[in-house]
Symmetry: C2
Subunit: 281 residues, 2 copies
């Protein structure tokens, strides 16, 4: 059996599947866990790859560590989405973290991940608090601010569409502390149908935040293998010298767990090819 | 019709094909040109994607401009392989270039590219000299040295297998002038079956050259979308300040033609994720 995900006409990814381990139509979306031939178990939502056990480290390390090291003292962290638990796992490696709220709209995602991808999450960590509710409503009523907010949603269709809206990012800005930092996944620059959504998102960030930048990661099971992410903050630049000092020190002490992220990658990932810059123009 | 190229079990790329425009079994390999639904015409050799008209700029800009800007005065350039003409086209954008020898073993590749990808090559340029012969033998008998040598071969199977050998790189070293620079394509870090070949190649470069480094590019139609390349030189570091000055000046003057390469990308492409560094250890 082959799983296919097309992103440009009939071009895309094909993955060899041994069997379907889990398939459930939740109130929000179709969640499946497929046993692949060489990538371990793989989660899809509405037919789009979310993660495989083998390549998930790239996405989760890059989404979590870039903002976490940018903040000088990240104690309170909010994750919107991220139901597989991988982003929270990377956040919880930072020793300063005291409290992580993870707001996942769909309990099906967490249940499937806990059962079929037990090594991805760190759900028993007492610092982690999982809430099954709408992340957008959650952000709007935050009273105690967060140091870092991470948007770990799926593609801008279905329940995640509002995670690309300006209003949502205004709420995030308000929910952040004075040195607050945010990251978000922002699709592949090669998927032309998402260019308007990507452009709109970065224009919103540019309007709302003092600093906003795109960065990139190589993710083999995502469309085209090239993935973009957003960094935004109330003033911290993503690789000024103080941030880079923290990255160098911090990665040295957590080195054994890191398979992708390191100081050179932190900095190099902000280098954008010409055609990617054009999308943002 | 779908074209498939697997790189890990039954995982890989799938591309929608309208029709087969060219298919010929040469003395060396099977060369095909397929009309795709969204990537223009695409060339495959023995079932492996070489380039599409839409994404070829990434590979050719990164393989050519990184070594070309590293050299202070690249007048004579040798390209081994590169029969589609894209690497030579990018080399010829550098105004200092006086003479380019392109040594392609298989005239079928050039013939197919000229007919079905007319915008990729710059074959009428009087500075370009095409030789249909074995690149390895050609390098061994070079008398007038080259400033830059670019290895633009296919995967280390079939006629390109010796392009990954230590002897070949020793010949390249001898064929380079005193400030000589070399680049080569070195496969995807995600294709585990090629790890021994990649490791051996970089060990050879490390033994033979004063400076050798890996760099990376996002190529959507190559396996995994993550591609590695090699930089080697007789002493020039790939992003010391003199090189970066040349890159900044040079890209400003050729800006309109560049869709991927720029100064930040030149530098950032040398940042290697942890799992890639592990392959080289």
């Amino acid at each position: 059996m082959q799983f296919n995900e097309f992103y440009s006409g009939r071009t895309g990814l094909t993955v060899g599947i041994n069997k379907v381990l889990f398939s459930e139509e939740s109130p929000y979306q179709k969640v499946e866990i497929l046993e692949t031939d060489t990538w371990g178990n793989m989660m899809t939502i509405d037919g789009m790859v979310m993660l495989s056990e083998k390549d998930e480290f790239v996405y989760h390390e890059m989404l979590a560590h870039v903002p976490m090291f940018a903040h000088p003292k990240p104690r309170r962290v909010l994750i919107i989405g991220g139901g597989d638990g991988g982003t929270a796992r990377e956040v919880l490696r930072h020793p300063m973290v005291e409290h992580v709220d993870m707001v996942e709209i769909d309990e099906t995602v967490v249940r499937a991940a806990k059962q079929f991808m037990p090594d991805v999450g760190d759900f028993n960590n007492p610092k982690l608090h999982v809430h099954f509710e709408d992340g957008i409503a959650f952000v709007e009523r935050v009273s105690e601010p967060y140091d870092v907010i991470i948007i770990d949603g799926s593609d801008p269709v279905g329940p995640a569409v509002d995670l690309f809206s300006e209003n949502f990012y205004r709420s995030c800005y308000k929910a952040l502390s004075s040195q607050g930092v945010l990251s978000s996944q922002t699709e592949s620059p090669w998927v032309e149908s998402y260019h308007p959504a990507i452009r709109k998102l970065f224009r919103s960030l540019d309007t709302i935040f003092e600093v906003s930048r795109m960065y990139l990661a190589f993710i083999p099971l995502y469309p085209s293998g090239m993935w973009s992410l957003a960094f935004a903050s109330k003033g911290i630049h993503p690789h000024d010298s103080e941030v880079m000092d923290r990255v160098v020190k911090g990665t040295t002490s957590m080195d054994a767990s890191l398979q992708y992220y390191n100081p050179e990658v932190h900095q190099g990932s902000f280098a954008l090819p010409g055609f990617v810059r054009e999308i943002l123009r």
